[in-house]
């Protein structure tokens, strides 16, 4: 009897405390006080938990730095920034639900993006409905920006840009070696998901422009664990380029299996190799592979908040004890966009903030940010690395590059 009584009391107390917490969060956001509250649903559990944590860490370090520098000044008054987080469990339905909750219950008027295109796609209609500005750095799908959303802004390059430059770089190199790019053959394999299919669409456009021929075009199933069948084909038709996009799995498999099956293609490029850590984990096997990335610490971008890209990376590593992935950098950049827009808007009215965001034209450690009328950042180019001796070297875009690409790729024996 005793135990049930205490149990009930504990339950009552617990729920009371919970109610109080909700109330407090809501009141805080509504009152505003000296704080501007942003909201974000991020994936802390589920399949995106690694990237979700990168996203959250990126937001946190941005907020921390802005607050250390005194916060943001909006028409003479200084505000500190704060983010309310929820865990979206890596599922779009949950993300949409949490966005509703952030806006309706917590009174959040500005939303930071979730991780992945799928979740962003689920949340964008909600922020649109409530006319809440939504700046994101981790939803790269092209279709996010063909819906006519007015309140959605992305600081990153959309996914169709990921491997476009690999094709253009190949054409450049071919000309240097006295070869007509029109004689080049492309083999490609993509996971059957919206992101990878966008990457594919970008490559097809670039290949058509360069007059290259696509000889293999495989779609990998999402549960892909083996690329042997595709690579056997690649080995047989001897293309000049092999392009793969299948998240971390695809990157790891293509590196490992091209080495094991001795599939020697002069240019091999893939997405997600930095998050798959191919240079670190498969250093010798990965030699010469090209990787697409949104950002790199070695780029010479600079801003007033963090300094250079490298300064940002150092600050991040000091704070979180792991090297800054681009997923974190683009998240931090989203926070900077908000801070800049608050100051220029001179108001906390979401409508005015939205208009200020649309007119953003800033340089950050992450690269230039300027949105086109659909809300995507078209000012920043993608980066291509080449894995060399267990490290990543920036080889494109050529004006920011550290070094020239080794062509053809020299596979380790």
């Amino acid at each position: 009897m005793m135990s049930t009584a205490t149990g009930k009391t504990a339950l009552a107390l617990g729920s009371a405390a919970l109610l109080l917490l909700y109330g407090a969060a809501g009141a805080l956001a509504q009152k505003g006080g000296d704080e501007i509250v942003l909201g974000a649903a991020v994936s802390l559990t589920g399949k995106y938990s690694v990237n979700g944590k990168n996203t959250k860490d990126g937001y946190d370090i941005g907020i921390k730095r802005l607050n250390e520098m005194g916060g943001v000044k909006v028409s003479g008054k200084t505000y500190k920034l704060k983010v309310v987080y929820y865990d979206d469990e890596s599922t779009p339905a949950r993300g949409a639900q949490l966005a509703e909750r952030l806006i309706n219950q917590d009174g959040v008027k500005y939303v930071l993006g979730a991780y992945s295109s799928g979740l962003t796609k689920a949340i964008a209609p909600i922020t649109e409905k409530y006319k809440v500005p939504h700046v994101e750095g981790n939803g790269a799908a092209r279709e996010l920006f063909t819906e006519g959303y007015k309140y959605l802004f992305a600081v990153l390059s959309t996914s169709d840009y990921y491997l476009r430059d690999a094709v253009n770089l190949a054409a450049e190199v071919a000309k240097e070696h006295g070869r007509d790019p029109k004689t080049m053959k492309i083999a490609m394999a993509f996971e059957n998901d919206p992101f990878s299919l966008d990457v594919r669409a970008g490559i097809v456009e670039a290949a058509n422009k360069q007059g290259m021929k696509i000889v293999i075009d495989d779609k990998l199933p999402p549960e892909i664990n083996d690329m042997a069948a595709t690579l056997t084909k690649v080995k047989a038709v001897k293309p000049d380029l092999l392009l793969v996009s299948g998240h971390e799995k695809g990157a790891t498999l293509v590196v490992r299996q091209t080495a094991e099956m001795k599939v020697d293609v002069p240019i091999v490029a893939t997405t997600h190799c930095d998050s798959a850590k191919i240079a670190e984990n498969l250093s010798k096997l990965a030699e010469g592979v090209l990787c697409a990335s949104q950002w790199d610490r070695k780029l010479s971008y600079k801003d007033k908040w963090f300094g250079s890209a490298d300064d940002y990376a150092k600050a991040f590593e000091k704070e979180f004890k792991y090297p800054a992935p681009y997923q974190a950098a683009e998240s931090t950049a989203s926070v900077l966009v908000f801070a800049d827009a608050f100051q220029r808007a001179g108001s906390l009215d979401p409508e005015k903030v939205r208009d200020a965001i649309a007119k953003t034209d800033i340089m950050t450690f992450f690269g230039p940010i300027k949105f086109d009328e659909t809300g995507k950042n078209t000012a920043k180019p993608m980066v291509l690395y080449q894995v060399r001796g267990g490290d990543y070297k920036v080889v494109a875009p050529t004006q920011w590059a550290e070094t020239k690409m080794v062509y053809p790729r020299k596979m380790s024996q």
């Binding site: 549960e223 971390e248 099956m261």
Partner: protein, 299 residues
């Protein structure tokens, strides 16, 4: 059908596909041995089969991280997974063993989700590999490659199959397992502790899956969501091969691996799985027709 023409133009590709298929088939066989055992003896379809493979993969990966050659992961994973399998039986499986098949499917489905999420929590969602450092043999002046790790996996699969056969035929526990499979009640009457038999069967299944998982991590990759394809493949293999028939399981697995590889080559990777499931339907239908005819003769 360009791909088909490619096969005729360069027949050596068929050798590559066949070899690769047979060698990966051996790894499927390992996962399927246990499923046929658990299904045959306990009448449980273990949906968490693939998750045990995944756990085995992580054992190999963590050994590799510690600087120990991941090949030791094969026995270590087997031992660890045996213990986990035993514990799972004592915690969950014994409650559903005599129940409806549907209940046990639900229970093991729940287990599979739980194990997946725990792995995600503790090991992280990163894609990992355990580098075995083994090389590659080349045949036909480089046109065909065979990785040594796949050959090792093949050898492990044959060895495990042989040991399993010997164990079931000769050992005391093996005989008890077979007796229980034939008639659990009669076995109990004869003084066999069927509860213990079930625990052994389930733990043995987990151990074999663990060993195959270690090989998977060395051959390809390991991540928390690796399991499902292995569960589905073992399920298919057992359906075609029949319950409790280790040799048929092995043969079916090799055939499945080869078929899958050829399908992936000819139709493209996106139809690899679809082709296999199509094949399953054809096999089941034709077997039914064949069995029905057989029954008519008997009548």
């Amino acid at each position: 059908m360009d791909n088909l023409r490619l096969l005729f133009d360069a027949p050596v590709l068929s050798v590559q596909l066949l070899l690769d298929g047979i060698l990966i088939g051996a790894i499927f066989a390992l996962a399927a041995y246990g499923m046929t055992l658990v299904w045959g003896v306990m009448n449980i379809i273990n949906v968490a089969q693939g998750e045990m493979v995944m756990l085995g993969g992580y054992v190999a990966f963590y050994l590799y991280k510690k600087g120990i050659h991941p090949l030791f992961g094969v026995p270590v994973a087997a031992v660890l997974l045996f213990a986990i399998g035993w514990a799972l039986y004592r915690l969950v499986i014994f409650r559903v063993v005599d129940k409806d098949l549907f209940i046990s499917i639900l229970a093991t489905f729940g287990l599979s989700i739980l194990i997946q999420q725990l792995a995600n929590e503790f090991f992280g969602a990163d894609v990992r590999t355990a580098e075995s450092g083994f090389g590659t043999y080349t045949l036909f002046s480089g046109a065909v490659t065979v990785t040594q790790i796949k050959l090792i996996a093949f050898a492990v699969a044959i060895l495990t199959g042989a040991v399993l056969l010997w164990f079931l035929r000769k050992s005391r526990m093996g005989q008890a397992i077979r007796a229980t499979a034939q008639n659990a009640r009669a076995a109990r009457v004869m003084g066999i502790d069927t509860d213990r038999v079930y625990a052994w069967t389930f733990a043995l299944n987990a151990a074999i899956c663990g060993a195959s998982g270690a090989l998977v991590a060395m051959t390809w990759i390991v991540h928390p969501y690796l399991g499902l394809p292995y569960t589905i493949r073992s399920f298919m293999i057992v359906i075609i091969a029949g319950l409790g028939n280790v040799l048929a399981v092995f043969a079916t697995a090799l055939a499945l691996g080869a078929a899958e590889n050829f399908a992936g080559f000819i139709f493209g990777a996106e139809y690899q799985a679809a082709f296999i499931f199509g094949l399953l339907v054809v096999i089941l239908v034709s077997r039914r027709v064949w069995l029905a005819r057989e029954r008519r003769y008997l009548a």
